[in-house]
């Protein structure tokens, strides 16, 4: 059955990467549906260029100069006023903290179902099935909404590529926002960039004997920075004084379990692997194909660490959003 699906796109640099991810996510999940969007922005300037050719059907722009990403209550109120009089079935948001905060407020104001962090949406004959990870990511929850049910859904769009090819041009309408509630009385501050936070890093780039010296670790640090990750090291590298002791991973160092562990020039002695073998994904880069690290690895490259890291750096030269 036809649904009337709205994507909420917040025109703030903090969210813009994810806006495109969200559009693509919706296109993947709702191949046969028309996708509409409501863009909330300080002005209608540049919206058409950004979203006009992205495969959306209709775009409504709610433009008012007070718009700011940090006015959570005000933005939710503007959206609530809009959706009260706009027929809709699903309202989709990307899954940033800020967008999720607005989505839950909107859901509460509309008294509709809210599903956060959905990673898959499927139209079925009876309605919609939303899937998300639950129980600290160890299980899936599949929620079935009836055909008539409305829902505000935040979508886990990380990893959804923003390659969108389409020929359609959206119909764009600029709407004036109704009477605004008082803007939130808040201030925003950027988070300081953290020093090497090995234990909490989602990505760890670690090196061992194969890096051959401090210069090798400078390369690894660059790769870690580019991936918004932290630098790790084996005991050999620390003992040789190539890198600070605080980076040591293993029996006598730190125990880490990042989403991604890149082990470069590390053979994989037990001393080291007890500190990283719980990582979700392990990439091993080593010249020795018989190195034990390959037994743990999901992916591997047999080759010189320095060469491979330099290539990774050049291929990844556009920073990956954290």
């Amino acid at each position: 059955m036809k649904k009337s699906i709205y994507l909420v796109l917040l025109a703030d640099p903090e969210f813009e990467d994810k806006n495109l991810n969200l559009i693509h996510f919706a296109q993947i999940n709702f191949e046969n549906e028309d996708l509409n969007a409501v863009v909330v922005a300080p002005s209608d300037q540049g919206i058409e260029e950004k979203y006009g050719e992205t495969g959306l059907n209709e775009i409504d722009i709610l433009a008012y100069s007070q718009f700011s990403k940090i006015n959570l209550a005000q933005t939710a109120s503007v959206l609530s006023d809009y959706f009260v009089s706009q027929a809709h079935s699903l309202i989709l948001f990307a899954n940033d903290k800020g967008t999720t905060s607005i989505a839950t407020r909107l859901g509460a104001a509309l008294k509709e179902n809210v599903i956060t962090q959905a990673n898959q949406l499927t139209m079925t004959t009876t309605g919609l099935q939303a899937q998300k990870k639950v129980q600290a990511g160890t299980m899936l929850q599949q929620t079935v909404l009836t055909a008539a049910a409305k829902a505000v859904i935040t979508c886990d769009v990380t990893g959804i590529n923003d390659r969108i090819t389409t020929n359609t041009t959206a119909t764009i309408t600029v709407k004036t926002a109704g009477e605004l509630v008082v803007a939130d009385d808040v201030t925003y501050a950027d988070l300081p960039v953290k020093a090497n936070d090995l234990e909490n890093a989602k990505i760890v780039v670690a090196g061992g004997r194969g890096m051959q010296g401090p210069a090798g670790f400078e390369l690894l640090q660059k790769l870690a920075d580019q991936l918004h990750g932290a630098l790790g090291a084996s005991r050999v590298a620390v003992n040789n004084g190539w890198v600070d002791e605080s980076t040591m991973v293993g029996q006598t160092g730190k125990v880490v379990a990042p989403d991604l562990y890149i082990a470069v020039g590390i053979s994989g002695a037990l001393q080291h692997t007890v500190g990283m073998d719980q990582s979700k994904c392990i990439i091993a880069i080593n010249t020795d194909p018989t190195a034990p690290i390959f037994k743990l690895a999901d992916y591997g490259i047999i080759g010189d660490g320095e060469t491979v890291v330099k290539r990774l750096l050049s291929e990844l030269s556009t920073p990956v959003p954290s």
Partner: protein, 381 residues
């Protein structure tokens, strides 16, 4: 684990595990072990949880746990570090003298002192009175409503940490019958702790000499009657032997955990060493001995909860468990091979920590004497 824990005991074990995982991380324990001391603030979270008040009845402000449950909690704690555990257990040794022979007012007074997070110490041993507790020389001289305490005590666990002592002092020259027990608050003045022992193991625990110099305590601080001091001390020690043993079970369990984990991971000749029979034998013996030790402790604790003074059983438990822990820890080092003697690996410390268990709270030699004397007594008539 052989024991059938109640839901309540499971809850408590979870609490202490959570606490120890956070407080006694391998790096913290290693740093303290190297330094040979433990910063007092490391005990703050233990005091916040009331780990030093477990045995004290609720009406005096404690948690009112049984000996059995308390022992389970301390076994778990000792598996992280027995020196840390014994620092808290030593408070109980002092406390038990008061609980066995003291008045309600004395128990309340003692509990009030330690409740906010203070240590207590039991001061019996002297340079010439170790195993032979009856030869205590430190004196308590009556002066009106007060006693004046003088003398030197040695190997006192918590010696420089304690805010309150239970000390055994000589009130008359009448040999074993001339000793009396006293609650001695640090605040009375005249108490000085000597040099902190640089020990082989249990390096997180504080062991010093303590000198009492004209310490004036009210007669109301005397525990039980004059002349009953040795009995108070020995009864308290009887109840404490199985507690020493429970810490040793914690060390055994740690030795077993580390050994099995390592033997499963360590590869030689292309297979994990746990597949080799020689290693299997050591592990099987270690596991069996640990179970037996734990059961023995548990049974003695149950007897204590039922009111027994466990003269024989306390000695047997201490003897068996603290002998068994020597082999378990030594085998753990053996299984780790060359890494076993490295301070970067966890098992050499277990070996160092466990040795003193054969010596303190009555040497294992004197335990055998006690057991034999009790047997002789049992079979008389």
């Amino acid at each position: 684990m052989a024991l059938q824990y109640t839901d309540e005991q499971k809850d408590f074990l979870k609490m202490v595990t959570e606490f120890a995982d956070e407080t006694l991380t391998p790096s913290v324990v290693k740093a303290c072990d190297e330094a040979g001391s433990c910063p007092e603030e490391l005990f703050k979270p233990a005091f916040d949880m009331g780990l030093h008040m477990l045995e004290i009845p609720e009406k005096f402000g404690g948690a009112g746990l049984s000996y059995e449950t308390t022992a389970m909690i301390f076994e778990k704690l000792a598996s992280y570090d027995p020196g840390y555990a014994i620092t808290l257990v030593s408070t109980f040794v002092a406390l038990r003298s008061v609980m066995i022979a003291g008045t309600d007012e004395q128990v309340q007074h003692f509990a009030d002192i330690i409740a906010p997070g203070k240590f207590a110490a039991f001061a019996l041993s002297e340079p010439d009175a170790g195993t032979d507790a009856g030869s205590v020389k430190a004196t308590a001289t009556r002066e009106g409503d007060y006693y004046i305490l003088n003398g030197d005590k040695t190997f006192i666990t918590n010696g420089s940490l304690a805010d309150v002592f239970v000390g055994i002092f000589r009130t008359t020259d009448d040999g074993n019958k001339g000793l009396s027990a006293f609650i001695v608050e640090k605040s009375r003045g005249g108490i000085t702790a000597g040099k902190h022992e640089d020990k082989m193991g249990l390096r997180l625990s504080n062991t010093t000499d303590v000198a009492f110099d004209h310490v004036k305590v009210p007669a109301a601080n005397r525990i039980g009657d004059e002349g009953h001091g040795l009995k108070v001390a020995l009864n308290s020690l009887n109840l404490s032997r199985a507690f020493v043993a429970t810490l040793a079970v914690g060390i055994m369990q740690r030795a077993l955990d580390e050994s099995v984990k390592y033997a499963r991971l360590r590869q030689q000749f292309n297979r994990p060493i746990i597949k080799f029979e020689a290693v299997q034998e050591m592990l099987a013996d270690m596991a069996t001995q640990t179970e037996a030790a734990r059961l023995m402790v548990n049974n003695t604790m149950k007897m204590m909860d039922a009111g027994s003074l466990v003269r024989k059983e306390g000695a047997m438990t201490k003897l068996f468990v603290t002998d068994a822990v020597q082999k378990a820890t030594s085998d753990a080092v053996q299984i780790f091979g060359g890494y076993g003697v490295s301070k970067d690996y966890p098992v050499e410390k277990l070996m160092r920590d466990c040795k003193v268990f054969q010596i303190f709270e009555g040497t294992n030699q004197i335990q055998r004497v006690t057991i034999a004397n009790e047997l002789n007594h049992e079979y008389r008539d």
